[in-house]
Amino acid sequence: MGLPKAPVLKAVQSWATVAVVLALLWVSAVQTDFNFEALTTGTADFFRFFTRLAPDWRALPEQWQPLIETISIAWLGTVFGSILAFPLIFLASFNTTFNTPVLWVTRSLLTLLRSIPDLLFAAILAPVLVIGPLPGVAALTLFTLAIIAKFGSETVEAIDPGPLEALRAAGATRTQVIVYAVIPQVAATMTSYVLYVFEINVRSSTVLGLVGGGGIGMLLNTYLAFFDYGAIGVLIIVTFAVVILIDQVSNFVRTRLL
């Protein structure tokens, strides 16, 4: 009687996965002309660059208003996106929607919106709406809408169906069931997620201005055009401060909520 043989299939699967990953990496490197030389020299240049970013604090005063605007853009995008996402969440969840066609249309629309990053929305909307905070708010609204609707529908589909059955049995309408049985079960999680999305949006809104979306990113364009690296240094530090501050506040509220 010998030792049992090690499962062959598992081993083959592992090796196959490793092989596929390595192949992907190799192809990618070749196709993009990625050279390790650039990696090392690039990194050296990178750090050298950082020294040029020594902050020139004279630029600080002119950055206040754009900073406030940046936070406002993030806030408004989050608020409008969440409000618009609200009905879509229930249309995209199988336990609260009307029928299968509505479900699939909503989900497809959301998948489409979710594949486009917020900067791209801003770039496309900038020529349409006037360059400034408007395309920024619109872009973040669309982005927020897409991810909150997705997360929301996942949360709603995972709730306890019992209370829904009970309320339907008592003669409640679809909307009443949503308000009294669905929302109480998901409210805390969703609020926490909205705050998390706000954090993400604050980060995004700092650079939306690069493509015309308003906020502090617009200054960045100016600074780049004039090679004013000292001002960029200040901008980076200020951005850091704002993002970390918002993160802390948001985390505080989120932990108190859940």
Partner: protein, 256 residues
């Protein structure tokens, strides 16, 4: 009051849960349905408010056909039928009062109810129902902070808030310990008697069935195999319903 006319239910999986059930229940009667799991008790009860639509036959409550009712009409019929569940089905994070008020939703002003606003009379009724099941002080407590027996009482209060003519109870005490089960059953029987509500209860426990029922209906394999008074429900009759010896059941269950 409740008429089942040749009701058949076949699920999408092909399972024939009800194979032709006909039954007439007069107003105010307290009926207990017994049988093994899978005998069709839950399905039968759910055809009364159309949570499970029959594949054939009809269920008539009062003078209205439940089976043939369309959306708005169905909601109106459902508002007169209260239901309590084995798992209570309360909204855990909401307060007890909110849960009971949910029973008033079908009658409440649609817009106001979406904003969480109920009329004073509705709120008073909700408090009354809580008092009738013995837990008026729990009105503002979160539902999941209550014990099992208390949660089921909230379920009863919610059903009562509908001012129902019919009450359906699907294994209402299966999740509760024996003393609590009895006190909940007593409450159910009492409010049913006080308001003259026609009540259908699914139960596992033989002694409980005998103790509380006006009439016992036994089911096996989707058909009614017994229909009579508790006195007529001898051990032999139960063995026929369960299709096996019931000595084990008597040992473990029904102890008050």
């Amino acid at each position: 009051m409740i008429k089942f006319q040749d009701v058949e239910v076949t699920y999408k999986t092909g399972l024939k849960a009800l194979k032709g059930v006909s039954l007439e229940i007069p107003r105010g009667q307290f009926v207990v349905i017994v049988g093994l799991s899978g005998a069709g008790k839950s399905t039968l009860i759910r055809t009364v408010n159309n949570l499970v639509p029959p594949s054939a036959g009809e269920v008539i409550v009062g003078d209205r056909s439940v089976t043939r009712a369309r959306a708005a009409e169905l909601r109106r019929i459902r508002s007169d039928i209260g239901m309590i569940f084995q798992t209570f089905n309360l909204v855990k994070r909401s307060t007890v009062l909110r849960n009971v008020l949910a029973g008033r939703l079908s009658d409440a002003n649609p817009l106001a109810s979406l904003a969480g606003v109920f009329s004073r009379s509705d709120i008073a009724l909700a408090h009354d129902c809580l008092a009738r099941v013995g837990i008026p002080e729990k009105a503002y407590v979160r539902a999941d902070a209550l014990s099992g027996g208390q949660q089921q009482r909230v379920g009863i209060a919610r059903a009562l808030a509908q001012r129902p003519e019919v009450m359906l109870a699907d294994e209402p005490v299966a999740s509760l310990d024996p003393p609590t089960s009895h006190s909940v059953m007593q409450d159910l029987k009492r409010v049913s008697r006080e308001d003259g509500i026609t009540t259908l209860v699914n139960l596992h426990f033989i002694d409980m069935a005998r103790e509380y029922a006006d009439r016992i209906v036994g089911m096996r394999d989707g058909l009614i195999v017994f229909d009579g008074t508790p006195e007529e429900a001898s051990d032999e009759a139960f063995e026929n319903i369960y299709g096996r010896s019931i000595d084990i059941e008597k040992d473990l269950r029904g102890a008050a």
